[in-house]
């Protein structure tokens, strides 16, 4: 017998189900008063430095239907590329947000500041991006992806560079629709399928 490794296995995931909002966004489920405050209502507070932007989009299933019950969480750096808790980070940027697809239209809106580029290990520089985590009924383990921006230089980003089929890079790039406004749609399956991550 060899020595034991003493590694514990991660707890298996299960779907968040259709009523995920009860736990994570109770006001959305129709339970507005149970907590004094709801977590992740905005990733920024007044006075946050940088360009305030609004990202709008939908998440489509494999049939092209905009899902009405998805819940999203986003995590990002501030305008200088620092995450909350790091030295020099903007105190008005929590960087964390929870939001949901609209129950009638399926569209979500994320209002935040545009993040700066981020320093990685070994001197790598990551292009500005927002990490996105998606859960819903029918999704058995949360899906990770990233929102990049079409008006930034994404040419040397280490993650985008790893995508072999270059036409798929475009699925991670938010499109500018007006000043300070972007559109980022997620396609779960099939034509134009968004690149999902295992990081």
């Amino acid at each position: 017998m060899v020595q034991p490794l003493d590694i514990h296995e991660e707890t298996p995931s299960q779907t968040a189900g259709p009523y995920v909002h009860i736990g994570l966004m109770p006001s959305f489920a129709g339970i507005p008063d149970v907590y004094e405050n709801q977590l992740g209502e905005s990733p920024i507070a007044d006075g946050a430095k940088g360009e305030v932007i609004e990202i709008v989009g939908s998440i489509y299933d494999g049939t092209g239907w905009a899902m009405r019950d998805a819940l999203f969480e986003s995590w990002q750096a501030d305008a200088s590329g620092k995450f909350a808790g790091q030295d020099g980070a903007d105190p008005n940027v929590s960087g964390y947000c929870r939001f949901a697809a609209d129950g009638e239209t399926g569209e979500y809106t994320l209002k935040t500041v545009k993040p700066g580029s981020i320093a990685g290990r070994g001197g790598q520089v990551h292009a500005p991006h927002i990490s996105l985590w998606i859960v819903a009924r029918g999704i058995n383990i949360g899906l990770q992806t990233r929102i990049y921006f079409e008006d930034e230089d994404n040419s040397n980003d280490p993650l985008l560079s790893r995508i072999e089929q270059r036409q798929r890079v475009d699925t991670l790039i938010a499109k500018k629709t007006a000043y300070g406004k972007y559109r980022f749609d997620v396609r779960l399956q099939g034509e134009g399928e968004t690149v999902f991550l295992d990081i």
Binding site: V20, G23, V34, E73, R121, I139
Partner: protein
């Protein structure tokens, strides 16, 4: 900040399969292309923190939190408790645990749940807490009922409580479900069956814990949760230019 090392890559074999025709909604909601794998970076190794001041005194008491302490919910009173660990077996302190569930009759307080079992006027169905310095958490709640759902002709969910855990980094984010020891519906459930390894599914089944039950008050169920850990960085290969 000190570099604690990259996250240990996920072992996807222990997790449910994304595409499972038995769970019909997953058919159109599962990616068909492989995931893009990469070593974690700051975006995955950092995450939000929540202070103790954020939480109210009843936030982890689902029996009383919906009525603001004025009247208890109806049902089997239980203590749900356990420890949040990482893959190294270390407790994860001060991390957010959130739960949500149906009431004793299997009805959710959600505008989209139209099941004919009634709402309990004193039960909301959500709770949240931070783990203590050793990673322990606890909730007082009522045991949820099974409920039917439109999947195959006669599918019923086992009694379950949904659980969301943060850990200390965005890449550790996990949502799962806790089932109850001895529930015969577990073996019939297409959602439970998305986990193909039975011994992994068994890890989601909470045992009755008489040692932490309170006489004449509540029964206890224990549910430990393991989150991803970090690789130790004894040697770090530098990329070109370093």
């Amino acid at each position: 900040m000190a570099d604690l090392g990259p996250l240990i890559p996920r072992n996807r074999d222990i997790h449910p399969v994304p595409y499972d025709p038995g769970y019909k909604t997953s058919v159109a909601r599962s990616p068909s292309q492989p995931l893009l794998s990469m070593e974690s970076g700051a975006s995955e190794e950092t995450g939000p923190t929540f202070g103790h001041g954020t939480f109210g005194a009843l936030d982890n008491n689902l029996i009383m939190n919906f009525s603001k302490g004025t009247a208890p919910a109806i049902g089997e009173r239980i203590l749900m408790h356990g420890k949040v660990l990482d893959e190294r077996g270390r407790g994860v302190p001060n991390t957010l645990v959130e739960i949500w569930q149906a009431n004793a009759g299997g009805r959710y307080r959600h505008k989209k749940d139209g099941y004919l079992a009634p709402l309990d006027p004193n039960f909301g169905g959500c709770g949240r807490t931070l783990t203590d310095d050793e990673g322990n958490y606890q909730f007082l709640t009522i045991r949820p009922g099974a409920y039917p759902w439109p999947n195959r002709g006669n599918d019923w969910r086992p009694m379950h409580i949904h659980i969301s855990v943060f850990g200390h980094s965005f890449g550790q984010r996990l949502i799962t479900q806790m089932y109850f020891q001895g529930d015969p519906l577990i073996d019939l459930c297409p959602i439970a069956a998305t986990i193909k390894n039975r011994s992994q599914l068994d890890r989601l089944v909470a045992p009755l814990d008489m040692s932490n039950s309170r006489p004449l008050d509540f029964l206890a169920y224990k549910f430990d949760i393991v989150l991803r850990g970090r690789r130790q960085t004894m040697f770090e290969n530098k990329l070109e230019g370093m």
